[in-house]
C-alpha cells in the first residue's frame, strides 16, 4: 500500500509546474547568491576627513588610512558640521578630525588629539570602523617612533599580541554562513514543502478520498514524507558538492557524523511541518504559520548572530530550535573537524525534539474530524 502512495507522491511532484524548478533553485540560490548578500563583513567604510592642519604629516596619516584597505576616502570637509552633514546623508560613515598643529605638536613632544566620530546606527559597523581607525593611528605613531627612536634597551613593557583564528584562519565570512544556509535549505525542503502538500490536499478535497479508504494514519503520513526525505537528502548532498566546487569548502570532520545529524534533523523538521499542516486549512494559513516559526527559528538559532550574545530568555527558547543544533553540527563538521563523539551535545537534543514533534503531529492528525 505504501509503495503505491509513495509512487503517487513522486508523480505529483514531478508534474507540478513549480516544484521541481523551485527544488533546484533553492540550493543554487543558497550557495550562489545568498553568501554574497548575507555578509556581516565590514568593508568599504566611507571616511571623511576634517584636516585643520593640512601638513605633510597629516597627509601621511590619511594616506596610511586609505592604504589599510578598510576605508574609502569620501572626501574632505572644512569643518565638523559639514562632515556631520555628509554622515547624515549617508555619504560617510566615519569622520576623522585632525587638529591644527598636529605636525608641530608631534615634533615638540606634546600629544595632539584627533577626534574619531563613527555612525553607529549599525553598531557593528560603527564599532569595528572606529576600532580599525584607532589601530591604524596607533600603528602610525609606532612607525614614527621607530623612525626616531629605533629599538633601544628599555622596552621591557612591550608585549606583542599574536592573534590566531582557529578553524577559519582567514576569517572568511562564507565559511561561517554557507554551512548554516545549507540547513535553511534542508528546512525548506523537508519541512515546508510536505506541509504545503498536505494543506493542498485539504484545499482540493482529495484528502477525503483518502480518508475513506483503509489506508492507515501512519501509512498516509509516511507516504507524504518519504519523497521529501529522499529529495532532501539528494539536494543536501548536491549542496555539499556545489559548496566544494564553488567555494572550495570541504568537510574537515566526519561525513558519517554529518549524515547522522541530517537524518535526525530531517525527521524532526518534517514532524514539525506535519504539525502545521494539521492546524492549517488553507495555503495562506500554512504559509503564515510557517513563516512565523521559521522566522523565530532563524533569529534564535545562531544563524546570523551568536547565541552567546543573546539574553537569557532568548537562549532558553533557542534550546527548542532544531536549527540551532543543526547549524552547530554543520559548522562543527565543516570548520572544526568534529566527529560523532564531539557532537553528542547536538544529537541528544535533536533526538528529543524529534520524538516530541512527531508525537504531537501524530496525535493532532485527525483522520476522522
Amino acid at each position: 500500500m505504501l509503495r503505491y502512495l509513495v509512487q503517487k507522491e513522486f508523480l505529483q511532484i514531478r508534474r507540478n509546474p513549480f516544484l521541481p524548478r523551485m527544488i533546484l533553485m533553492f540550493p543554487m540560490m543558497i550557495l550562489l547568491v545568498l553568501p554574497f548578500a548575507a555578509n556581516f563583513d565590514i568593508k568599504n567604510i566611507n571616511l571623511v576627513v576634517v584636516d585643520h592642519d593640512e601638513s605633510m604629516l597629516s597627509e601621511r596619516l590619511v594616506k596610511k588610512i586609505e592604504s589599510s584597505g578598510y576605508f574609502r576616502l569620501a572626501g574632505y570637509c572644512h569643518n565638523d558640521s559639514d562632515a556631520l552633514g555628509m554622515v547624515e546623508l549617508g555619504k560617510a560613515d566615519t569622520i576623522l578630525e585632525i587638529p591644527y598643529g598636529f605636525d608641530k605638536d608631534l615634533g615638540k613632544g606634546s600629544v595632539p588629539e584627533v577626534l574619531i566620530s563613527a555612525d553607529t546606527v549599525n553598531g557593528t559597523k560603527g564599532g569595528l570602523g572606529s576600532a580599525y581607525l584607532t589601530t591604524v593611528i596607533q600603528d602610525f605613531s609606532a612607525d614614527l617612533l621607530q623612525e626616531i627612536q629605533p629599538i633601544s634597551g628599555n622596552r621591557k613593557s612591550l608585549i606583542t599580541i599574536e592573534s590566531q583564528y582557529r578553524y577559519n584562519p582567514y576569517l572568511l565570512y562564507p565559511n561561517f554562513m554557507i554551512p548554516a544556509l545549507m540547513v535553511i535549505g534542508l528546512l525548506l525542503i523537508t519541512g515546508f514543502l510536505p506541509a504545503l502538500n498536505i494543506v493542498g490536499e485539504k484545499e482540493s478535497g482529495t484528502i477525503e478520498s483518502m480518508n475513506v479508504t483503509p489506508v492507515r494514519k501512519l501509512t498516509l503520513i509516511l507516504s507524504k514524507l518519504i519523497p521529501y526525505w529522499v529529495i532532501g537528502f539528494l539536494v543536501f548532498s548536491f549542496m555539499l558538492v556545489l559548496a566544494y566546487f564553488v567555494w572550495g569548502l570541504a568537510i574537515t570532520g566526519s561525513l558519517l557524523a554529518l549524515y547522522l545529524a541530517v537524518l535526525l534533523f530531517v525527521f524532526t523538521i518534517s514532524g514539525f511541518g506535519l504539525i502545521i499542516s494539521n492546524y492549517a486549512n488553507t495555503y495562506q494559513q500554512a504559509m503564515f504559520m510557517m513563516f512565523f516559526f521559521v522566522m523565530i527559528f532563524d533569529f534564535l538559532s545562531g544563524l546570523f548572530t551568536p547565541i552567546a550574545s543573546m539574553p537569557e530568555w532568548a537562549k532558553i527558547i533557542s534550546y527548542a530550535s532544531p536549527l540551532r543544533y543543526m547549524i552547530e553540527v554543520l559548522r562543527g563538521v565543516y570548520l572544526k573537524g568534529c566527529t560523532i563523539s564531539d557532537l553528542k551535545g547536538q544529537y541528544l537534543p535533536l533526538g528529543v525534539l524529534m520524538l516530541l514533534f512527531n508525537s504531537w503531529a501524530i496525535i493532532s492528525y485527525r483522520k476522522n474530524s
Binding site: 500500500m1 503505491y4 502512495l5 503517487k8 508534474r15 478535497g205 478520498s209 475513506v212 479508504t213 474530524s369
Partner: protein, 245 residues
C-alpha cells in the same frame, strides 16, 4: 441480510443537531436513495456511515461492522465517491486506477486486467495516459464511479454523484449504477434530484435532520397521491424549517 443498519443515529455540532435520531435498514444489493434538500443532513449522515465522522449518539452497522469501533474494517469493504469527484487531477487515468486498486489490496496483474477492461467499456482506452484534470466533467464522473467500485466492495456510497451534469448524462450514469447493483453491490446514494429517486429500490426523505418518509418510490407516490417524487418531496419538505447549507 442487511448491508446497513442504522439505529437512532445522531450528530450534534454544539447546539445544532444536524442528524436527529435516524433509523433505517438497507438490504444487500439494494439501491437506496437518501434524499433531502440541501442542509437536511444527508451528507453528515453519510459521513458517519463511512467512518469519517463519529456519531454523537446512536449506532450503525455497515457491512456488519460497527461504525464507532470498527471503522477501519468498514473502509476496507466499501467504496466512496464524493461530491467533488475527487480523483487526483495531476495523475493519469491509469495512475489513479493503479493507486486505488493498490490501496484496496488488489494485486498488480489483476489491476492491469480490470483496468483495461474498464477503459474499454468506458471508451477511454486512448485516454489511458491523460491527466484526469483534462477530462470533461461527465467523463470524470463516470471514471470516479468506476474507481469507487473497482475493488468490488460490498457497499458503495455515492454523495451527490450527478451534480452539475446534464439529464442525458445523468441517465447514462444511472445505467452504470444499475449494472453495479446487478453485480450484488449495495448502492447508497444521496441526491437532491428528485427524478433520480425513481431509479431507486427504496428512498428515504430527510427533513431538518429527521427521516420523514421511508419506502419505495411507488408506495410513496401512492400514499401521497402524487404523480412524481418531486411532488411527494414538495409535500413533505413544506414542513421544513431549515434552509440550505
Amino acid at each position: 441480510m442487511n448491508a446497513i443498519i442504522a439505529s437512532n443515529l445522531t450528530k450534534k455540532f454544539g447546539s445544532f443537531t444536524a442528524v436527529d435520531h435516524i433509523s433505517f435498514d438497507v438490504s444487500e444489493g439494494e439501491i437506496f436513495g437518501f434524499l433531502g434538500a440541501n442542509g437536511a443532513g444527508k451528507t453528515t449522515a453519510m459521513r458517519m456511515l463511512t467512518g469519517l465522522l463519529k456519531p454523537t449518539e446512536g449506532k450503525a452497522l455497515v457491512a456488519g461492522f460497527d461504525i464507532k469501533k470498527q471503522s477501519e474494517k468498514i473502509k476496507a469493504n466499501i467504496g466512496y465517491m464524493s461530491q467533488r469527484f475527487a480523483l487526483y487531477g495531476d495523475l493519469t487515468i491509469s495512475e489513479n486506477i493503479r493507486l486505488f486498486g493498490g490501496i484496496y489490496g488488489m494485486d498488480a496483474k489483476l489491476i492491469a486486467e480490470k483496468r483495461d477492461r474498464l477503459l474499454d467499456e468506458l471508451h477511454l482506452k486512448e485516454e489511458k495516459d491523460s491527466l484526469v484534470s483534462r477530462l470533461p466533467l461527465g467523463w470524470k464522473q463516470k471514471l470516479a464511479f468506476s474507481v469507487s467500485i473497482f475493488h468490488e466492495p460490498k457497499i458503495v456510497f455515492l454523495d451527490e454523484p450527478t451534480g452539475g451534469v446534464d439529464p442525458a448524462a445523468r441517465r447514462r450514469f444511472w445505467e452504470m449504477i444499475y449494472a453495479a447493483s446487478e453485480q450484488g453491490i449495495t448502492v447508497f446514494v444521496t441526491t437532491h434530484y428528485m427524478d433520480e429517486a425513481e431509479y431507486c429500490n427504496r428512498v428515504s426523505i430527510m427533513v431538518d435532520g429527521r427521516i420523514e418518509a421511508l419506502d419505495s418510490p411507488h408506495a410513496l407516490k401512492t400514499r401521497y397521491a402524487a404523480s412524481s417524487m418531486d411532488e411527494v418531496f414538495q409535500m413533505i419538505a413544506r414542513k421544513a424549517t431549515r434552509t440550505a447549507d
